[in-house]
Subunit: 299 residues, 4 copies
């Protein structure tokens, strides 16, 4: 009989702590498990309201420090921005139902379509998966953008979920982020120009910019440094918008001819892939040119 | 005047889409931003109920496939388990207020103390940060455990938050996970022994184990393969428990003597660090030996 | 000195329980209160997502028993239906921002406009207030509908909140309730006709109707009892829809003439009041005739 | 055939609006209903976290106005307080699992036991049912307390749900409400004494009390009006606490004797009923005397 054998052989299960549970665990571990299983009922349902866009926004944690330690160029580091976009693309390719993503600085927003039933619309699953895929990609693709410069420690991002019931609300969300990009980039461009070319200390530059409007900042750049802000990189001024696009690709397929011979034939295949834009998404033009991104409001 | 200059120079701001917003953006981008800022009000407050333990559990996404593609050994891959623990340690060291973490297979649970006010107890921030830090660490430390074997793609984990109001509920949660570890490991140990040593196909092994109890599985291992399950590795049978412990360290400090000379002196310093255990946490002994992990129920 | 006096006069504060708190409560009750005030932080924010219709639906609790005990006529009691509508009207008149309400049987749904900021959109406040106002009105207006027949005990209703992001979703919600009304009323009409006019027992009537379609039920009424269901009361077939309507009223106002005399003058005044409809709200006509109920989807 | 008949008889279903749905509703109303039924999925799960006390607090809406219009006596109206308690008792008797209720002024709190599974712990159902039963009872029992003085309009109460994980938290919640009762009652007692006996206007009384501590208020009552606050009614100073208590009742039962005769016998029967206390619940004594109210913290 098993139990006899078990004890003869010194006790089949030796727990480092508790003796009384030993028998329980040899003969009825399933029972033990089910005794504890009531704890599952403490989970709460956090299903996202139907027919709303689900937006997940990630923000870098302590990226000021991270940028310092990895010697990011000021005011923008194209390697870092490239890595952010590469990671966002990885998220879009791995997760279903993201129709548009927008990023700037150390943040990225992902928009799931209104009718998505991915992960049963469970907010916690959706946002943790986005945060996880983005973060592992950031480390994974580091070398593609920073080459031999080592990543000193694993960075992290926090996230949140916000729901938007209408197309107008969603566009306004994205406009809010792009307006934020514009304001910050203009400020940073002037600030670092004053420091790097104007010889000001950072404190002096801060002082100089206190209370200035956008127009004043443009003027400083133009009159003092001969820089037309308008000519600055769209990547920096407008951020990065990622969408799915269908592209025709010509691929070679091996086909069998009637006479049983085989032959390579060029075939046109339509493929969906993630494309990046650095353009205005506040106005109507972008949305008119890409009418498939948003769903019909009348549903 | 700026506006004149601006237009003279070709238009200070050229948006790829919309013209009417141009002026808005040169002279009053802050106003534009504030016009969209109402979208912030769509964020909902997901503060965790006070005086409850906050548990974040991460689970690997498609880890069956991930294990295949990275040729994990069966039934347990110690490199992978080591990397999981290393990543969990990184989470504990980076985030505040985690008092205990428990992991097995491709999952890890993190317990924040009842009184934590970290991130203002916002569930979304807490769980995304845990998922992010864990995932970036998993890629970052890959080489430490897998050496030259390359990581083929960035893996991901999803997470959830569960609240437990009492010490009993929390212990039962951890017991539930450890009982799960035990059941799965016993099954997997027998299954892969039947395949690897017994020459069965995986389908035959599955058949053979259908309907067997824990006792039956122990018996198969013992009588057919001369394996005492009890002697198997505690890492596999009990999983990994991480807690904070104070350790005395002897460090050398340079001190100034009264006669102005300097001298190296050995000093004992108490330091908190994360320690790993592979022992039973279902019974009382573990908790009695570490009375500081849980807070008093009477609060 | 107060404390002296206090004790001389037998102890200013005599708590039936605890002595030590006495001093605390004479001299610093505010302090005592603030010591406990931390419990407020356990309240959670349940703000309804912006830009969604807020629907509160009430359902009678144990109304089967209530109907029996108050001898409601079968299949419909017009006194009870009238009282339900009267109570719903009281809710609409007391609470702000309800644009439409729909009721049938022992249930009533109230729709708050998408842009409502009433009660800061706090779900708990909104639904409890609706439930409370409805219930107190039900008892208050009982006599208007039941005359001398006494109300035997205070009835109760439970409620819930549901959010609908689009006009389509909201209309479909109301259609769902009206379709439910139709199905139940047709069933009940045939059922009670079989019992009251056909002489069947309730068990026999139930049996007879098992598996029948709407067409079959119409046929039973028509061929066996010469009843055209179509001619039945719209109140029963379609339920009650309450909306706000502007009505011109002629009121008498006392006005001062140029010669200082006063005179009564008939003045037309536009007043909003709640109007009841018993008509189809599933099709488009109702909505086309009342275009002001719903807000524009494009916002 | 039905359809023929239907149309012959003028169309079986005549919708006041839409024609096309007519057929749909005669032959397949269930289908129509199920087409709309997707709207149920917009309901969200608001289950209360397990193992926490569920507190529902009701507050009178515009009770200042209500008190004026119904000429409540100042500073306390015993008829109104009696009616509040009567309504609360009605809630306790109708709803399951309320272990204690506490009321003062125009508010009442109801505490459901930690392990309650009533209404599947759905917050919305629980709080609306409490609000509804309380409100209908308030109107229903009005006459018992106000006699011939008529209720002028149906009053309403709003409610909220708060969860408390531990006995300490729950007691602190109740202490918070009782401390609030004490502070308000002391203030109101002095205020209305100054007005009613001291001849001050309400503005003068308010001025007089600005910045005074509890001790000052006691002193005003004692030295100027010879009132020892301590001797004031406990109902006003401590509010009303309702709990369940077992009482032995002697009832008469008709029993059959061995000789087949029948006889009335006095039998002691234990019955649970709601009892009211007006005593301190901040200190330990009340809880020690009623150890059954709260559940064990160790669960």
């Amino acid at each position: 009989m098993l139990i006899g054998k078990a004890y003869r052989s010194g006790g089949l299960v030796r727990w480092c702590g508790v003796q009384p549970l030993a028998c329980l665990f040899t003969s009825s571990s399933n029972m033990a498990k089910s005794k504890f299983e009531y704890v599952r009922n403490f989970e709460t349902d956090d299903t996202c309201l139907r027919n709303c866009y689900i937006v997940v926004r990630l923000d870098g944690r302590n990226f000021h420090r991270f940028a310092e330690q990895h010697r990011f160029t000021k005011p923008n580091d194209n390697r870092a921005l490239g890595l952010m976009s590469r990671s966002a693309r990885s998220v879009m390719e791995e997760l279903e139902d993201i129709v548009i993503a927008y990023g700037q600085s150390d943040e990225f927003s992902f928009v799931f379509k209104r009718t998505s039933t991915w992960f049963k619309r469970r907010a916690s699953k959706i946002m943790t998966h986005v945060a996880s895929q983005f973060s592992s990609s950031f480390v994974f693709y580091w070398k593609e953008f920073f080459g031999e410069q080592p990543l000193l420690y694993p960075p992290s991002f926090d996230g949140r979920v916000v729901l938007y019931p209408s197309n107008r609300n969603l566009k306004d969300y994205l406009s809010w982020r792009q307006a934020d990009c514009h304001i910050n980039n203009l400020y940073n461009t002037v600030f670092w120009t004053l420091v790097q070319k104007g010889g000001l200390t950072t404190a002096q530059a801060e002082d100089r910019l206190k209370g200035t409007l956008a127009a004043d900042k443009n003027e400083i750049l133009f009159s003092e440094f001969d820089i037309n802000y308008n000519n600055e990189s769209d990547l920096h001024k407008k951020g990065t918008t990622l969408i799915w696009e269908k592209r025709d690709e010509i691929v070679t397929k091996r086909m069998k001819l009637p006479n049983e011979e085989e032959k390579d034939v060029a075939v046109t295949r339509s493929r969906r892939r993630v494309e990046a834009y650095h353009c205005d998404i506040i106005g109507d033009q972008f949305w008119e040119e890409h009418p498939d991104i948003l769903e019909d409001n009348s549903c």
